[in-house]
């Protein structure tokens, strides 16, 4: 069962059209917001306690309040790059309820004083980009975007900007570089985008799901939102479940929902009545939980206590036929391909991890390869310019540590013990 505000809207047929969205009470939160002072909106969203849904879980509004009040222009960027492996939640929002996202963008832009908002969307979402462009056109015709929105005197232009195939462009500063027409190399922080963002102007960058939650918070109030979930992980969250479950897909749950309940009840359990071996709680950049560790509730603190992260809410389930060396190698392939190459530990370390993991998987590993893997991971951790280095090294280190006996078995038996047993 899906519960929560997104699911209710996702069920309404044809709600991607503005007429239908208006019938459902759409854009009333924007109307309400335009009658409020920007600071009141920021206060309301602060009360809600919502944390960024893009992966880092940073309180969304802290960034908003860093925007200098006396500097103009200010820009708002919606991060729709959705590249974290396992994640497919933003796509549903854009495809089915684009106006909810636009309404959230409009309210947030008004709150921070932006008259230009850019939606950076990964190129593969061709259809979704078209849906957004159509929705923008409709909203402009109805006076919900563009000049003098609902007679309030507030102007907002929204553009859909397509990426060109680079995971790193989901990182906010790489995204800004890319949106300026450059290579997507992350910038050194500080300064943070709230001070120096797009073309040097103060810029708020938020994820699709974060921005799409704003209308609800304005409509029902921050207090109401904060009453859902856990004290420090408030509200509803979209979970994208993939891997070895019977019913993969998108699930909306209040924060704090039990992970095992999601897997065993909502998703119908593990396929072929197999046993759970490991689960990735928040996209491949987050360390896996073993079956024992999986008895945890889905909120930022609880997952962190188990040494992992809620990340983007992309849950990847693996049954007992899964080879953990293979999984670690898949990760190394990905992060070495996506490293932008700016810093040495990431650029050099990832391909080494990839090579060593490939030789272990292929039965050519040596016993000192295991300490070597760990050594390379720790050599990357904390020594890179952007979080991609850690995003690769931290989980890979966790696979080696948590499933060390599998790595040893590959080396001892000179091959993958799982091959041919599936």
């Amino acid at each position: 069962m899906n519960e929560g505000p997104f699911s209710q809207l996702l069920k309404v047929d044809g709600i991607n059209k503005i007429e239908r969205y208006l019938e459902q009470g759409g854009y009333s939160a924007l109307k309400k917001a335009l009658g409020m002072k920007p600071d009141e909106i920021i206060e309301e969203v602060k009360t809600s306690g919502i944390r960024g849904r893009g992966g880092a879980g940073f309180p969304a509004v802290v960034k908003w309040s860093f925007i200098p009040k006396d500097k103009r222009p200010v820009y708002l960027v919606c991060n729709a790059d959705e590249g974290e492996p396992g994640t497919f939640k933003d796509r549903y929002i854009i495809e089915k309820i684009p106006h909810l996202l636009l309404e959230g963008i409009a309210i947030s832009s008004y709150a921070v004083g932006a008259n230009f908002a850019l939606i950076y969307i990964r190129w593969e979402y061709v259809r979704e980009a078209e849906i957004l462009k159509n929705a923008i056109r409709e909203a402009k015709e109805k006076g919900m975007l563009g000049k003098n929105i609902m007679g309030s005197g507030f102007d907002l232009e929204v553009v859909v900007h397509r990426g060109a195939g680079a995971y790193i462009c989901g990182e906010e500063t790489a995204l800004l570089e890319s949106a300026e027409g450059k290579r997507g190399n992350p910038r050194v922080k500080p300064p943070f985008p709230a001070n120096v963002g797009l073309y040097g102007a103060p810029t708020v960058v938020n994820n699709v799901e974060t921005l799409a939650s704003v209308p609800l918070i304005i409509e029902k109030g921050g207090k109401w939102y904060a009453s859902i979930g856990k004290p420090k992980s408030t509200g509803f969250k979209l979970f994208a479940v993939s891997g070895h479950v019977k019913k993969p897909g998108l699930y909306e749950k209040p924060m704090g929902y039990p992970l095992l309940k999601l897997i065993n009840e909502d998703c119908g359990g593990i396929r072929e009545e197999r046993k759970l071996k490991a689960v990735i709680p928040g996209g491949t950049s987050t360390p896996p939980l073993t079956a024992e560790e999986a008895d945890v509730s889905l909120d930022y603190e609880s997952i962190q206590e188990k040494g992992s992260m809620l990340g983007s809410g992309a849950i990847i389930v693996m049954d007992d036929s899964t080879c953990m060396v293979y999984v670690a190698k898949k990760l190394a392939d990905f992060y070495s391909h996506e490293s932008c190459g700016q810093c040495t530990p990431c650029r050099e370390g990832m391909p080494w991890l990839k090579e060593i993991l490939a030789r272990i998987e292929n039965g050519l590993g040596e016993s000192d390869d295991i300490p070597l893997l760990m050594d390379i991971c720790t050599g990357i951790l904390g020594r890179t310019l952007c979080p991609l280095g850690d995003a690769g090294a931290l989980p890979i280190l966790a696979y080696v540590k948590k499933f060390r006996e599998e790595f040893e078995a590959h080396i001892k038996e000179k091959g993958c013990p799982f091959k041919g047993k599936k």
Binding site: G86, F88, R162, G181, R183, P248, F334, C340
Partner: protein, 153 residues
């Protein structure tokens, strides 16, 4: 280089953006979509339109996998090789397509019809997808792949 209508659309966009340098990716995308690669001539053209240095344009386009300096096939078959899809058996799908097209990942057929690429997560992990040009195909079985590939002419 770019059809008039599309060029007009790009010029309109220039007015909305804070700075026209942001249009570099949209220009290159338009060209890649029409010609299936970015030629030296195209680089010169875009550089001039946006008052940029051609070597800068080259530097940018080589960063992104969307752009190609050699001509891609009429059909660009892209299969996800990332974790969730691999757990659902993407590897046998990849082997199958590779054999059927007689192409290794990254290759283009000599008749210019197909380019076969392995790509990272396509954001559709519950349904193990592949993309042909800009369209997603999901819930693939070998029979379904056969059908789809046969329909490409």
């Amino acid at each position: 280089m770019i059809p008039e209508e599309k060029l007009k659309e790009l010029k309109e966009m220039e007015k909305i953006y804070p700075d026209k340098r942001s249009l570099l990716l949209p220009y290159l995308q338009a060209i890649q979509d029409i010609y299936r690669y970015i030629s030296d001539e195209a680089i010169e053209f875009v550089a001039k339109e946006l008052s940029l240095n051609p070597s800068f344009v080259l530097g940018v386009l080589t960063f992104y996998t969307y752009f190609s300096r050699t001509k891609r096939g009429k059909y660009h078959i892209q299969v996800c090789r990332n974790l969730s899809c691999s757990l659902l058996g993407a590897e046998s799908l990849i082997d199958y397509i590779s054999k059927r097209l007689s192409l290794k990942p990254g290759e283009t057929s000599s008749d210019g019809r197909f380019t076969f690429s392995l790509v990272e997560c396509l954001g559709c992990c519950d349904r193990a997808p592949m993309m042909i040009n800009d369209k997603y195909y999901t819930d693939l079985t070998l029979e379904k792949v056969d059908e789809i590939l046969s329909s490409l002419r």
